[in-house]
């Protein structure tokens, strides 16, 4: 793909990566509806999911425009198969318990907020505008997920155990956010987006500070599962998520909802 990648193809891939991250994470978070540990968390989780779905409409809407095949954000969300999704693996892993859900949110929010900070200066004004709008929401997501991770880490022995287990499980999914490929190189050349690898030091500084406040131990490994943002190899979980999310559109093609 790298040798023949046109600028628009690269931009399309980049926008899918942004939009698929928010789509799949928003979906996962929305699975909590009505089942959270306390009413305030039900409200906060629904609010986060709602923000992420709104952001998806913007990213995938622009992706459809750039692709130029007449596809809407809904077409992209509901009518692609697993191999066409470009989200990182981190956002598709199942919710498991509340600790894993909030740790996943924190590990993603930290990357997302740094990424959007750079995208606000994008040479593409459409991307800069989406970043400016969504970064405000994401700043709040980060504040909340970081506070909750600290609260659970520095809470009881039991809550510490849950959130440490979540970190241990999720840590191998962190590295993928900082891998760079030809799509990223094209974005860097055009001044559209930063090189993912260049965000790692800011990310580590932010994340390690919060995890330290949370009295958590960061796993001593930089091993990273990969394959989501290239689409080469998603987890088994994504297919199940799509069977649910896409069911109505697939079962009743062409209907308007």
């Amino acid at each position: 793909m790298a040798a023949t990648l046109t600028q628009d193809e690269a931009l399309f891939q980049f926008l899918l990566r942004m939009g698929d991250n928010t789509l799949i994470l928003g979906h996962r978070v929305s699975e909590w509806c009505g089942h959270a540990p306390v009413l305030e968390e039900d409200i906060a989780l629904a609010n986060t999911a709602l923000d992420l779905i709104g952001q998806t409409q913007m990213w995938l809407g622009l992706a459809g425009e750039v692709q130029g095949a007449g596809k809407s954000a809904d077409d992209l969300a509901f009518l692609r198969d697993v191999w066409d999704f470009r989200n990182v693996l981190l956002v598709e892993v199942p919710n498991a318990d509340f600790g894993r859900t909030l740790m996943r949110q924190f590990l993603f929010d930290a990357w997302h907020s740094i990424q959007l900070g750079h995208l606000m200066k994008s040479s593409d004004p459409r991307i800069a505008a989406i970043a400016a709008k969504t970064s405000k929401e994401v700043a709040y997501h980060l504040e909340r997920s970081a506070d909750t991770v600290v609260g659970l880490g520095d809470g009881t022995e039991e809550s510490h155990g849950f959130i440490q287990a979540a970190l241990d499980y999720l840590w191998p999914y962190v590295g993928e956010m900082f891998t760079s490929d030809a799509v990223d190189a094209a974005m860097v050349d055009a001044g559209i987006a930063p090189d993912p690898a260049s965000l790692r030091s800011d990310y580590d500084a932010l994340v390690l500070r919060v995890l330290e406040d949370a009295t958590l131990t960061v796993p001593d490994s930089r091993f990273a599962h990969k394959g989501g943002r290239t689409g080469a190899m998603h987890t088994e979980h994504l297919g199940h998520l799509l069977t649910q999310m896409q069911w109505l559109q697939r079962a009743y093609p062409g209907a308007s909802w």
């Binding site: 789509l23 999911a49 995938l60 609260g151 809470g155 649910q244």
Partner: protein, 325 residues
């Protein structure tokens, strides 16, 4: 409306105090939490507001059932926002109940062990996407009829909570109607879903108003206290009268062969719901009672370590702050 068959407590307080209290209510004054009130008034309100709050919380489940299957991003966002509003209503109502001297945790425990009820309607399943329109249109539509008058209820915190809740509920009802209209005007399969949703939810929606006044033993005292503003039959008739023309506008078949315009009464006649079914649902034998309560119990039990952890952290943080001062 999410309060049905709320048992009204008789009062054994000092007759002079009771008379003065009733005079305040008759004069349209609001009763505030610190004011004297009969023990029965307090108890009945805790039961009613608590039942209403629980209904908002359990009510998240039948709609949450479709969030992950919403057919477009916009529909998903609308549904999420709506369910989030319901959780918010639960929060205002628990706060209103707390002013009467009961904690949210106590109320929650009474819901979870079955001592307190929630509206019968949430014990029915949501089986196709058109249910998301029908719930907003019929269920929220029925709830509004009860809640609009409750904005004038005698207890200040309940009345103020209802004012906020009603604004959002009427928005939900309009969104629900928009969603079902899309289905009713859609493909044959979509129209079939809309009809199926209407047929299934019609009688359960009528049951939301509670049994006929002739059989309702709790109304008189609650109406004197202005914590119940209209009779069950009045509200049910109003609901039928406003909904039948909407069904016709949607081009759907009427869900009850007994619906006919009665020129003499100036109202629609309609068939009574099956009250045996209603009492079965109230007693725990509705199609979803067991699953709904199990889901709430699981959420509460699974969340115990989270609540404990966050509370422990808040205490440590406060202690550290004190130590630093």
């Amino acid at each position: 409306m999410y309060a049905q068959m709320v048992k009204s407590e008789a009062s054994t307080d000092d007759p002079e105090k009771l008379a003065a209290f009733q005079a305040r209510i008759d004069a349209g004054e609001k009763i505030e939490p610190k004011d004297w009130m009969p023990a029965g008034y307090r108890k009945t309100l805790i039961r009613q507001i608590g039942q209403h709050a629980h209904s908002e919380i359990v009510g998240q489940l039948p709609e949450g059932n479709w969030i992950t299957r919403a057919p477009t991003l916009e529909r998903k966002a609308i549904l999420l926002a709506k369910v989030q509003d319901e959780a918010g209503h639960g929060l205002y109502l628990y706060c209103a109940a707390e002013t009467l001297g009961v904690s949210r945790d106590e109320l929650t425990e009474m819901l979870l062990d079955g001592r307190m009820k929630y509206s019968s309607i949430f014990n029915y399943p949501t089986l196709n996407w058109a249910d998301m329109g029908a719930v907003g249109w019929l269920v929220d539509g029925a709830a509004i009829l009860n809640q609009v008058p409750l904005q004038r209820t005698s207890f200040g915190p309940y009345s103020r909570a209802m004012i906020r809740v009603c604004k959002e509920e009427s928005f939900h009802a309009r969104q629900g109607f928009d969603a079902i209209r899309k289905m009713a005007n859609g493909t044959p399969a979509q129209k079939k879903m809309a009809q199926d949703a209407l047929n299934r939810l019609w009688f359960p929606a009528l049951m939301m108003f509670g049994p006929s006044d002739a059989d309702s033993v709790h109304s008189t005292q609650s109406m004197a206290w202005k914590i119940k503003m209209n009779t069950n039959d009045e509200l049910r008739q109003k609901f039928v009268d406003q909904t039948v023309p909407q069904i016709e506008f949607l081009g759907l078949d009427l869900p009850d062969a007994g619906i006919t315009w009665n020129e003499e009464r100036g109202h629609y006649d309609y068939s009574d719901p099956d009250w045996d079914e209603f009492f079965d649902v109230i007693q725990g034998n509705g199609p979803c009672n067991t699953d709904r309560l199990a889901a709430r119990n699981k959420a509460w039990q699974d969340g115990q370590w989270v609540r404990d952890g966050l509370l422990a952290h808040a205490r440590k943080k406060a202690a550290r702050k004190v130590a630093a001062e």
